[in-house]
């Protein structure tokens, strides 16, 4: 380009003028004083409040830094026995739930047809009156579906529904019901599974993503660190078995890619080999059940089904048997099959077997001293959805109350969840956000954020932790805590348990009874100072005690093979949908911090993708970034391909969490939801969704789309990473 002298001057002049323009817009800083000073607030000095993280059921203790009445940062509570001062990304990002611009700020009622998502604002008084009226007029008992809650709120909701003659259900897509069902039959007792990883020296994980989002990931991450590096002479070994290399698998000494659904089969093989090795000693009545269960397969069958060689299986059995403190854990992919519970019985049975052979008890059932209110609350399974949909007639269904869950997004379309909503006579949601499910509501009575609420959280762990959460900021909007809404409804309906005026009173009352049993000073006002101390500490916990109950291996059924939906010639791959570490099953998708967190293994940021083994991709003629159609017998989605060597060649994986049609500006219209592809295959014993039991095929669209990745994929189809099967 030929730039003349005059042009140069003109350009230089324009550039100078252009650079000055932003400087001319002078921003004037203002100092705005308080009208009335707040005794609790010193400007510039932070207050730290102890509370409980409300992002998952683990119940980690948090400390929230509050300055000038605004929550600014969340950290783990160092004194808390669950997380010892650590906190995961979800907990850190929970600030963005409080300040989310898409929060519901006051009650709403539906205007157009149900599900259209058009609402008009409403006063609290009108909303409560309307709901009370609907509940009074209901011909069939109401039904409430909530995320799993514990403590005072669980008791209140359960009592409220009992007095209405209705049913309260828990629903969470990551509930791992097969794990709990299997625990009863493989270890005996009603306790919650507690894995003392810190003291294990050999860990065999069958698909459990315990470093990502399984049970209590922060606590397990700390224990895993102890197991690997916390002891001077022992470094615990860790072998992970799963069709896909997850973040958890990437931390193992060895990852064994296995055929989907064959985890239980492998455990059977290992159990059989261990029993064989102890043939001379392992007999008698206590071993009879083990012999019957583990002896039901032939080893060559195990080899064939799992795709692992005999040497590998023998080696696993020998290592497990030789360890002083071995532990087998199962979950995640092992759980999400039609034989999920049976696989987990087979996996957890290895712990029972190790116990009988005199190894250190690493897996223990933990029973809380007190009877727990939330234990008896049934779970809403996908099987139950089919049963409910059959029973009811259109329009004559129950009043449906929804809290803290989004089943219309997380359940597959093939499950008749929508029917339940269409049949319901009235739908009310207590959700803080307008998501796929609350869009179907007739009335929205938004709950407060966890950082604005009172509450408690009971954790089933040896420290018998009862976390106490308190509001750390003044509520931002005209919202009302669900506990207060329920108490108010009880009063209006004269249900009799509305003695406590507010949920705060109810909470205090309950804690007073708990503390009355503990040693305390005998003054008249003993409770107040104790209460304040507990609030400052973040809850109540004790010295961890070992309370392993008797181990009783009693499987009620023989092992079954996993079944898949879709014929193999038409649908050659098994779809492996996995919960994203940041977005979970979709609940984290409206937090920008979590959205911009790259996936740890593929480094992809934003959107959805399909992970395909490079060898498979070569056969199909697809490369990195190619847009493909993923077709299951129940739906079709399109997404970009990511060549991922850490996956079994017969499996394709997709992360869950994206593909929202609602749920706010950060979540909406981003990526696809793999749940739409899933077949309504159920776990044979618990009736929960077997999310890993759908077969798919892949078709090229000819389109190519660039994925936002941190790392450039350098791998060419020629330099495949061979899978090491020792």
């Amino acid at each position: 380009m030929n730039v003349g002298r005059r042009t140069l001057f003109k350009l230089a002049g324009a550039a100078t003028a252009g650079s000055i323009i932003p400087g001319c817009k002078k921003e004037v800083d203002r100092l705005v004083p308080y009208l009335l000073p707040d005794d609790q607030i010193v400007p510039g000095v932070a207050n730290w409040y102890a509370s409980v993280c409300g992002e998952c059921a683990a119940g980690c203790g948090i400390l929230v830094r509050v300055m000038e009445g605004r929550a600014k940062k969340i950290e783990g509570n160092p004194d808390h026995p669950v997380n010892h001062g650590k906190l995961c990304a979800k907990g850190q990002a929970s600030l963005q739930s409080l300040y989310n611009p898409d929060r519901l700020r006051h009650p709403f009622q539906r205007e157009g047809p149900r599900g259209a998502g058009t609402f008009v604002p409403l006063k609290w008084e009108e909303g409560l009156q309307r709901l009370a009226q609907v509940l009074r007029d209901g011909r069939v008992p109401p039904m409430m579906v909530t995320r799993p809650v514990s403590g005072t709120l669980a008791r209140l909701l359960s009592e409220f529904m009992d007095s209405m003659g209705g049913t309260l259900y828990f629903y969470a897509p990551d509930a791992e019901l097969p794990l709990h069902a299997a625990w009863r039959e493989s270890m005996g007792g009603d306790g919650a599974p507690v894995y003392d990883l810190a003291h294990a020296d050999y860990l065999l994980s069958f698909g459990a993503p315990f470093l990502e989002h399984w049970l209590s990931p922060v606590a397990m991450g700390i224990a895993f660190g102890q197991m690997r590096q916390g002891r001077a002479t022992v470094r615990g070994r860790y072998v992970h078995i799963e069709p896909r290399m997850s973040v958890t698998a990437a931390n193992a000494d060895q990852w064994l890619p296995i055929r989907p659904g064959s985890e239980g089969m492998l455990a059977l093989g290992i159990g059989q080999l261990i029993l064989d090795a102890h043939r001379s000693t392992a007999h008698g009545q206590e071993f009879e059940r083990f012999h019957r269960f583990y002896g039901s397969v032939r080893l060559d069958e195990v080899e064939h089904v799992t795709g692992l060689s005999r040497e590998v299986i023998v080696r696993l059995a020998q290592d497990f048997d030789a360890a002083r403190a071995p532990v087998a854990i199962g979950g995640g992919s092992a759980c999400s099959q039609t034989n999920g519970t049976l696989s987990l019985i087979s996996i957890n049975g290895l712990n029972a077997l190790a116990h009988h052979l005199g190894r250190a008890p690493i897996a223990q059932g933990w029973c809380h001293d007190e009877a727990r209110d939330d234990r008896s609350i049934p779970w809403l399974t996908e099987q139950m959805m089919f049963e409910l949909a059959e029973k009811q007639d259109a329009g004559a269904g129950p009043v449906l109350l929804l809290y803290g869950c989004n089943p219309l997004f997380t359940m597959p379309r093939a499950v008749p969840i929508k029917t339940l909503f269409e049949q319901a006579s009235f739908v009310v949601s207590f959700s803080s956000f307008l998501d796929e499910t609350s869009e179907y509501a007739d009335l929205l009575l938004p709950d407060r954020d966890a950082l604005e609420s009172w509450g408690d959280h009971v954790v089933e762990n040896p420290a018998q932790t009862m976390g106490l959460s308190q509001p750390v900021v003044t509520p931002l909007y005209e919202t009302q805590q669900i506990g207060d809404t329920i108490l108010e409804l009880s009063r209006r309906l004269n249900l009799g348990h509305g003695q406590s005026k507010t949920f705060y009173d109810l909470l205090r009352g309950r804690w007073k009874t708990v503390l009355a049993d503990q040693p305390h000073t005998q003054t008249a006002d003993w409770f107040e100072p104790e209460w304040i101390e507990l609030l400052q500490q973040g809850g109540l916990w004790r010295e961890p005690s070992q309370a392993a109950g008797p181990v009783n291996f009693a499987p009620s059924r023989a092992f079954e093979q996993a079944r898949f939906v879709g014929e193999e010639p038409d649908y050659p791959f098994v779809l492996h949908p996995y919960a994203s570490m940041a977005l979970g099953h979709g609940e984290g998708a409206n937090r920008p911090w979590l959205q911009e967190l790259p996936d740890t293994l593929t480094t992809v940021v934003w959107g959805s993708w399909v992970e395909v083994n490079p060898r498979t991709a070569k056969d199909l003629g697809i490369t990195h970034g190619d847009v493909v159609r993923v077709i299951s017998p129940f739906g079709t989605l399109t997404a970009s391909t990511v060549l991922f060597p850490g996956i079994h060649p017969d499996v394709v994986a997709m992360p869950l969490g994206q593909g929202h049609a609602s749920y706010g500006r950060y979540a909406k219209n981003r990526g696809v939801n793999p749940a739409e592809l899933l077949a309504p295959a159920l776990d044979s014993m618990t009736g929960t969704l077997a999310a890993g039991a759908t077969r798919v095929r892949i078709e090229r669209t000819g389109e190519k789309r660039r994925l936002a990745t941190l790392e450039r994929p350098t791998m060419e189809p020629s330099d495949l990473i061979a899978i090491d099967r020792r």
């Binding site: 002049g13 400087g23 100092l31 705005v32 004083p33 009208l35 010193v42 510039g44 000095v45």
Partner: protein, 178 residues
């Protein structure tokens, strides 16, 4: 002759370019600096408050109004209630105190124009400086003599360091920048 005039005109052009670019840089630099340390703000407040009257004639202690200076990073501006604590009882009203009353009755805080501000990359705390025994006047000047309150010092790093050197304060970068 021709070559000389050409040379002369080239020098003239070079000087012009240098002046134009340098001038531009000066203006941009000045505006940038004023943006980061905003010393350019004038003390024109919604209510014409006088430090000379309050701190000088009436001898109100600095810490009576800026009450968090000894315990916090910021000295803080007094709450409206603190202002009214005295002004409620005053019989005579001036045009400015009338404005104050209007704010109070309408329950609106006065939005004062901020005059002292350090950039975000500086960590400064009043508390520590006062604990060291420094007086307000060391940095803010004799406000009791000033009807308006300009900046008494540049509040730039060299100025901070000259005192830190003299008084034996920390010279570690991370003391103020972290």
């Amino acid at each position: 002759m021709r070559s000389t005039s050409l040379a002369r005109s080239s020098i003239g052009k070079a000087v012009f370019i240098v002046l134009a670019v340098g001038g531009g840089a000066l203006v941009v630099g000045f505006l940038y600096a004023s943006g980061s340390a905003d010393s350019s703000e004038q003390d024109i407040q919604p209510v014409a408050f006088s430090h000379k009257l309050h701190a000088g004639q009436l001898e109100v202690s600095c810490l009576f109004c800026h009450r968090y200076a000894t315990i916090s990073r910021v000295a803080s501006v007094p709450s409206m209630q603190l202002c009214m604590g005295c002004h409620q009882n005053l019989k005579e009203d001036t045009s400015e105190t009338k404005k104050l009353r209007v704010y109070w009755e309408q329950e609106t805080p006065i939005q004062w124009v901020r005059l002292q501000r350090l950039p975000d990359f500086v960590y400064f705390t009043h508390e520590m400086h006062l604990h060291h025994g420094m007086e307000c006047i060391h940095c803010h000047g004799r406000v009791e003599d000033m009807p308006h309150t300009p900046r008494a010092a540049t509040f730039e790093m060299g100025w901070c360091l000259s005192c830190h050197r003299r008084e034996g304060g920390s010279l570690d970068c991370l003391t103020c920048h972290h």
